[in-house]
Symmetry: C2
Subunit: 700 residues, 2 copies
């Protein structure tokens, strides 16, 4: 695997190993020894002869060998010097446990820079500083002060909070959860979440990658790599600290609707990353992914010895949108042949309160044979005659025999089921305390399966006039203009194959009437000013104008009224425009996220967009399928399909518009924000029109 | 308290007490003895002299005294005879543990009926049959086969699933959760959920009422009584088994949008009942309500020794819509005076990884003084120096001193915090394993406080023409008509103060033109037939007709086209109607729920209602505040207030419409379903118009 020297070193030096039991430098050494590390351990401390029975070295050079991994626990100001020693010695992997760097201010930041430079110069990979260390149970490595070595298992965990990792370790050790690797990434001056996700992606011991992150350094790259890894193993992340980071000063609808977390969500969705809301949820998910095969479909059967929890499971299955497996006639007949008459042989299969282990074994074995069953949930409540432990053993036995289908357990209780839980866990059956938790896990697994089955991403490239766009954007940037005027914005859109309404700018009522006469009625009139973004708010828009007199009246009224509301706005005239009739108005938009790049938006258009908030987001570039998916994940979609006898609109034309826009913003990273609103669409075969557009550009 | 003989009997007879350890009749006797019941216990069994050291009686009469409570464990067919004995003896409280009644079919149902009759005749209250029994820890009563006697505490629990109760008991005993009473209600032939909620409402030991229910016998009464009790103590219910019970054959929008669970939800909301999705969630909520005072407001402060979980808590606070307490300057200065410089003295208060108990004690004590703080969440992760147990003791100490404000703990870990958790629980501090769980509990508490603060419910009665409605409905019922035609429906609405559009029915094109000329243009035309519910689906609606020629054309087109789509429909003519212009179209509706009565609906109107599903429900009769609240809980509301320079509509007029409709359906229980769609509303001061209406009636 990558970062091999960290996770499978043959020798480890601990610089700052201490003789004092209360010191971190003592604890790490102790943890390494207790973990049973089979390689060499070199404590480095110039004030001791030996620590915990190991020979102690005054400094790194005096070891006389090059340790694969160096763990540093000395005070922050001394660290740069140790790194330099490492470099000269040829050490390639260093963990800096020490805190007191950028998190305490300017001086700490300067220290970090010195370390980074030295490390880069000598080709040293660094984890930390300000971290808890790393743990690799199967290699007997516990180079951390996080706690006892956990069991070996399939979960690889990365944490940006050391304290949280220690708490997780305490919980996991009590629950017997196993890990492949645990890594505290600290200030991540070198090795970051991406390096580690890639390393765990390569690691044959890791079945599931899980992590707690507060930030992602390079969102764009992270998404691309994570997308590849998700096809091999699931990635489960908690991403905290972002809710209030909004794009407050956004000038477009898309910008104001895309909060700080939207880009993370879109990125995670693209990459197939499963986002978790809490550690509890994360481990509930992770255990199922680590222990059980992915479900072949989403039809769930429930086996229970009590009606109540069976109903609760059935409710949850419906609520989570899963399928309620319909058992085949042969299955039901076979169930009926063995189970008592009062049993329910339909799903949920109720094998009654006096069910012993044999009844569970028979029922589970039987339903797993049914081709209509993808997942089985085995519920047990400890009743007078219930054989909790023997039932757990029976479940494990059946699953060993039929390992293809997903099986989860929900044994409800505590002391009475404690032994059974140990049996289940070591038998590879994930166990949940409530039916609702178990069913939620099934839903998450089944969504992940759906994500994996998506066709390969192919982004269509349309023939466009790229050169024209370059010229317009270049002109704006040269003049230092951020906002692109409507006329220029429409020229850009036209260059990318959008159709915009006919129209021209008028500076007098008579000119307006002339233009209108040429276009044909009805027309729309809009005040024309770079300083007015939301024209309708100031009475700067009039629709449905039917003749020349109305045109002239509207012109004069706008010229009179708008300046009174916006006295500082420089008004260039009034745009007279073809009025576009179409069945529906939608919005297509883009907001460029600093971490994840262009974030596309689709939604119900018009002035209501920010009220109804019926919008969806996805990262550009879009495939045809993704564009369609964006449409389908809004409520507006049903409306677009046509309701109650009304004809639907051309859905594919909207999806194409989104793809063209995606191509535009991908090819021109200078475009920061972009709204086409309304994008007026008509029935199948008609051409949608980009009626109004807003765009802003910035130097790359 | 009510049902005193069940929960505080002086003597208990167990009919069917058994000498065999594997029998339920043995277990119940054993549980009563082990619970330390201080009164008399009479085992009744005609085949034994004594059981478990107690003298055994051959039958009830031979006891020679009247037991306060009789627990019956004999086979089902014998139970009616025992009940008769109880009646003759003067026993007033009976628990029937025995199963094999209505849950097994017809014969069992017949047995239940005999028992009910005898019990009613002799004034015996019966819990069960087919139940686990009851437990009252503080009275040393364990008349159940559910498990060991739990600790005494503030939670009263009612369960419609015996097996679930046993599982809950196992979990609660392991976690040290205390109960006032636990009741398994079984088939509830007499004592039902309402009796028990009322009994627990009266019970001074019960601080929180919790329960698992699969059905509620009389929803309407339950809601009314529960509403009163919620003002004294919170009610937390799991209601399962209802998701797929839809009103499939509904003929109105309201009917098809009101699923089986909508009425339960509306009923629970009215009654202030807190609905829980799982047992886990329920106990998380219940413990907080039982242990801590209700928060005075929703401003939360977080104290933590680790950054990560602090951020997670802050995220959750924002996500759950709670307030993030802003600490006052004196509070921050005081914090700064004692805490190390690297601490964060803003919320979340980070007292750093090396915080000992004293730092927690000082910080908690300080922030609780701040008037801007309503709730404190104390987060601890077990780090190298952390004093878990001493910190728990410190938190308990501070809370004892300052018991007014709500304090919750989130100690994250397992073995390292095990002792601390015991200290917290016995000190009355609810503890959660993740910040997200704790914050969710705070949100639920704060919503409950908001519910309690609602003004007293006053339903306004409008002067109406009730007699006219009586006549119309009577006529329909006499003729056996379920659907009320549009004309009649509008007359009914007019009698209750609604305004409907001008118009009349035409049977020829010329007559249609005449009517239109009288009304004035534009007009609307609608096909007129009892058999066509959704007119626009069949091309039976035309809007915006501008002159007599268009009227005649539309008439003939409808008469030609509609019969081809609906060949069996009897067409009475075409309605010619004033075209109502208004800013917005909304829908007002009602669907009568068999358990909870009239369920009012409000939403965005027009043909989109079932697509957008932007609707809200509430039980009639509505107060002005509730009608307003219905409006406010839709996204449509923002649109009604006016967006982007558009004028808003008359919100109060819509709310009044809902109240008038609520009065109508309350006064006429024959009305089963009712939609006013669209209800066209204009700016403040204009009169809304009920443009179209659907109504169905049934004999009461």
């Amino acid at each position: 695997m990558r970062l091999e020297k960290f996770f499978a070193p043959k020798s480890v030096a601990i610089v700052g190993a201490s003789t004092h039991k209360t010191k971190v430098g003592y604890e790490i050494l102790e943890n390494m020894i207790q973990a049973g590390f089979p390689g060499k351990i070199y404590p480095v401390n110039n004030k001791a002869e030996s620590i915990q029975g190991l020979k102690c070295y005054p400094d790194l050079p005096s070891i006389g060998a090059v340790p694969d991994l160096v763990v540093i626990v000395v005070p922050a100001p001394v660290v740069p010097e140790i790194i330099l020693q490492c470099g000269k010695l040829g050490v390639k992997a260093v963990i800096i446990i020490t805190a007191g760097f950028k998190e305490v201010g300017k001086e700490g930041r300067a220290l970090e820079q010195r370390i980074s430079q030295t490390a880069a110069q000598y080709g040293i990979r660094v984890i930390g500083p300000n971290c808890l260390g790393i743990i690799a149970p199967s290699k007997n490595i516990n180079a951390s002060f996080g706690g006892d070595l956990p069991k070996a298992g399939g979960i690889g965990y990365i944490s940006q909070s050391g304290a949280l990792l220690a708490a997780i370790l305490d919980m996991a050790n009590a629950a017997g959860i196993g890990f492949s690797k645990l890594i505290s990434i600290g200030n991540k001056i070198d090795v970051n979440e991406l390096d580690l996700v890639e390393a765990l992606g390569d690691d044959s011991e890791t079945k599931v990658i899980a992590g707690y992150l507060e930030s992602i350094t390079d969102g764009n790259t992270f998404v691309r790599r994570a997308e590849q890894i998700s096809n091999t193993k699931p990635i489960l992340l908690i991403k905290s600290g972002g809710t209030s980071v909004g794009a407050q000063a956004a000038s477009s609808h898309t910008g104001s609707l895309a909060g700080g977390e939207t880009a993370y969500e879109a990125g995670f969705e693209r990459a197939g990353i499963i986002r978790c809301d809490s550690i509890e949820q994360q481990f509930q998910y992770a255990e199922a992914f680590a222990m059980q095969p992915l479900p072949g479909g989403n039809n769930v059967v429930v086996i229970t010895n009590a009606g109540g929890p069976g109903i609760m499971a059935a409710d949850a299955i419906e609520r989570e949108g899963l399928g309620f497996a319909k058992l085949s006639r042969p299955t039901m007949e076979k169930l009926a042949s063995f189970l008592p008459a009062a049993s329910n042989i339909h799903n949920p299969v109720d094998i009654l309160g006096d069910a012993l282990a044999d009844r569970y074994e028979f029922a589970l074995d039987t339903v797993l044979e049914d081709p209509g069953v993808d997942v089985a949930l085995v519920i047990l409540t400890p009743q007078a005659m219930t054989e909790c432990r023997a039932t757990a053993e029976a479940v494990v036995r059946v699953v060993k025999k039929k390992p293809r289908k997903t099986v989860l357990a929900c044994f409800i209780g505590a002391e009475k089921i404690a032994e059974a839980l140990d049996v289940l866990r070591s038998g590879g059956i994930p166990q949940y305390l409530t039916p609702e938790d178990a069913v939620e896990v099934i839903r998450v697994m089944s969504e992940f399966v759906r994500w994996r089955k998506k066709p390969k991403r192919v982004v269509k490239l349309f023939p466009v006039n790229r050169h024209k766009v370059e010229i317009i954007i270049e002109r704006h940037l040269r003049k230092g203009l951020r906002e692109v005027g409507e006329a220029d914005a429409k020229e850009i859109l036209e260059a990318y194959g959008f159709v915009t309404p006919k129209g021209a700018l008028a500076t007098s009522p008579e000119q307006a009437a002339n233009i209108a006469n040429q276009i044909g009625y009805p027309v729309v009139m809009k005040i024309w000013s770079r300083d007015i973004i939301h024209k309708s708010d100031v009475g700067g828009v009039k629709l449905g104008i039917r003749n020349a007199q109305e045109v002239m009246d509207a012109f004069d009224l706008m010229m009179y009224r708008v300046p009174r509301k916006m006295p500082k706005a420089q008004i260039l005239g009034v745009l007279v425009q073809q009025m576009c009739k179409g069945a529906r108005e939608v919005i297509l938009g883009m907001n460029r996220d600093p971490r994840f790049g262009p974030l596309m938006m689709f939604g119900m258009g018009g002035t209501m967009v920010e009220v109804m908030k019926d919008v969806s987001f996805y990262l550009a570039p879009l495939t045809a399928g993704e564009a369609k998916q964006m449409l389908m994940s809004t409520r507006t979609y049903k409306m677009l399909q046509g309701v109650r006898g009304e004809e639907g609109v051309d859905i594919d034309a909207i999806a194409e518009g989104l793809q063209r826009l995606s191509q535009l913003v991908t090819e021109f990273p200078q475009i920061q924000e972009l709204d086409i609103n309304p994008y007026v669409v008509g029935p199948r075969g008609t051409v949608p029109i980009a009626v109004d557009a807003r765009m802003s550009v910035e130097k790359e």
